[in-house]
Amino acid sequence: MEGILTGLSAAFTFQAIALVVLGCLIGSFIGMVPGLGPMQVIAIMIPVAVGIGDPSIAMIMLAGVYYGAVFGGSTSSILINAPGVASTVATSFDGYPMARKGFAGKALTIAALSSFAGGTLGAILLTLAAKPLADVALLFQSPEYLAVMIVGMTAVAAFGERGRAYKAVLMVIFGMILASIGEGSQFANRPRFTFGYVPLQDGISSITLIMGLFAVPEAFFLILDPKRGQYKGDGQSKEINNMRINGKEAKEMAPVIGRQSILGFLIGVMPGAGATIASLMGYAMERNIAPKEKRDEFGKGSLRGLTAPETANNAASTGSFVPMLTLGIPGSGTTAILLVALISLGVQPGPALINDNPDIFWGIIISMYFGNVVLLILNYPLIPYIAKLLAVPRTFLIPFVLFFSMVGAYLVSQNPTELYTMIVLGVVTTLLRLAKFPIAPIVIGFILGIRMEDNLGRALTDPDYTGFSFIWQRPMTLVFLLIAAAMLLYPMIEGRLARRERKKARDSQVTQD
């Protein structure tokens, strides 16, 4: 309770309020641009956040940017059938048909209310869950940390890439290898893998890394494919007329919101299964449990079909903060980027955060309530007008995205090496994405790499254990590691069984590739 008050006092200063409002506006504006989603917006805004200096206020602003970007994606899904990010694709299933029928205003209202409700209910669940979870995490020692990090990374691989988990695992390892360049943890206070090249001694800066991994490749893809993210609709922005919904509609939305907030939140808590999966699952679930006549409306502008993914999406975004805030382990690309922001601001995330920096911990949580309110009362009436400005031509947009990324990386150390590193990472990432390798695991491996090394070092040098004996001397560690192994192996075994069955089913079919 005391902590919540600390958070409130951090969030309710003039500066913080102004920055949340500004963050929401910038976030929703950039979030509406096809191709640019929360990850890109936050990456570009990190240098600004670092410039602000005060970690709690900076994080509050970034939280505003995040919510703004998520909502901006929903807006462009509804109005022009152009989801900026994967997590709002499900929104366009029913949001766009609704707008086409002439109810664009109503669709925006439903989306705004659902995301507000999902985000707020998610934030309440987070408030309730954070403290007990952090208390449990405080019991952890280095071996448990190490094991939990391995569980987190495995989960990212297993849930994120069904049937292709090994590709995600390879990417996690790639990220950890990148992290081991330069002076690593306290156990490696000697530069390594620098080949005598001085600028590499500090290692790759995490800001440079996320620019190179997320912002730059997105711009490269926009260059390569001019039609990228463009909509399949009739090409016209929908007229926004009556934004009201009536009591009957509100009554229909309420149970959907209740169900999907909880479901979405729980999915969000699991590492690797983020807002995209939550929104698609929420949509499918509501369609299945809807009565016959309501089910037929799905895909043609169903109220439930719009409410479900919007609620689940926002609840899951909030849920993904749980492992990040309590354990310091990011479960998604977006929270990994927010974690980079925290570390750049000089804050060590982990279970100690709640006691050492209660203002930051609760400030972030309070800013979630706050960001949701700001979105609802300030952004939502403005959206129609911002949407009209939407058509920034790509010929202007792309140079700007690249320019912002380069300035951000340059400000890290004012050294051209940062920029070269960023460009190389951008090219490599582009090639990896062309080959359909997942990118978020790289940044998760990068962030966890150094901290894993610290915990491994502490566990190995602990006189209670000899070598790796902590694995079986500490039952919790063993359980975590077994969970990790099970998650990694299960999809592979499952995939093999499914393949065998399918093969039996259509033995006669000719295969061609």
């Binding site: 994967a86 090994y166 950890m176 494919d225 995209t276 792309i398 690249l402 320019f403 080959a435």
Partner: protein
């Protein structure tokens, strides 16, 4: 693309080579460790060695993993797609199939280009843009922030095929100024705004 030389395998082979090199250097690190630290349970090369070996294993798995899985999965999605477009299905499995179909649509929408439609992509523009970025990185300090950025934005638009000259020049002039003011007065960081020669003349 042939049946065996998939994108996964090409990347797998490249990463395998990189992981082997990394592993070699990781084991080579031992030479640089002073004798006193050699017997420590945790050394500078402990994690890199583990990582190197794990990386080799993961890339080998990526290379030898069957390609048939991808085709079977694509078929499954295609079937689910057909079922969903038929509109009606009964029973509990419908939800699963619907999600599959939507995942497919989701992937289509958000899909990156792949090696399959390699040729249609604007590779020339990309290469020109990367070259421009490298030049900008190299000459940012000497050329000063404002002029360098002006040329970056202007040439960037030209590379992408924009020809609305007035708008381009205006944007390229105003943006660097605005960002420089932001960086200097809001973020409190210094970037020399003008070319070195002029800055020296101004005594900056």
């Amino acid at each position: 693309m042939s049946r065996f030389l998939t994108a996964d395998r090409i990347v797998g082979v490249i990463l395998l080579i990189l992981c082997c090199l990394f592993t070699y250097f990781a084991f080579d690190l031992a030479k640089t460790i002073p004798p006193f630290f050699k017997n420590q349970p945790m050394r500078v090369d402990t994690l890199p060695r583990i990582l190197g070996v794990a990386g080799i294993i993961a890339s080998v798995v990526t290379i030898i993993a069957p390609t048939t899985g991808a085709k079977a999965r694509a078929d499954a999605v295609k079937n689910a797609d057909a079922d969903a477009s038929k509109g009606e299905g009964e029973g509990a499995s419908e939800g699963e199939e619907l999600t599959q179909a939507q995942l497919k649509e989701n992937q289509d929408r958000m899909a990156d280009l792949s090696f399959a439609n390699f040729g249609q992509a604007k590779w020339g523009q990309l290469v020109a843009m990367i070259a421009l970025m490298i030049v900008y990185s190299t000459y940012l300090r000497a050329g000063g922030f404002i002029p360098s950025t002006f040329f970056l934005l202007l040439l960037g638009s030209i590379i992408l095929g924009e020809r609305r000259w007035i708008a381009m020049v205006m944007v390229s002039l105003v943006a660097p100024l605005a960002i420089w003011l932001l960086v200097t007065y809001v973020l409190d960081r210094t970037i020399p705004p003008l070319p070195k020669a002029i800055m020296n003349m101004l005594g900056g």
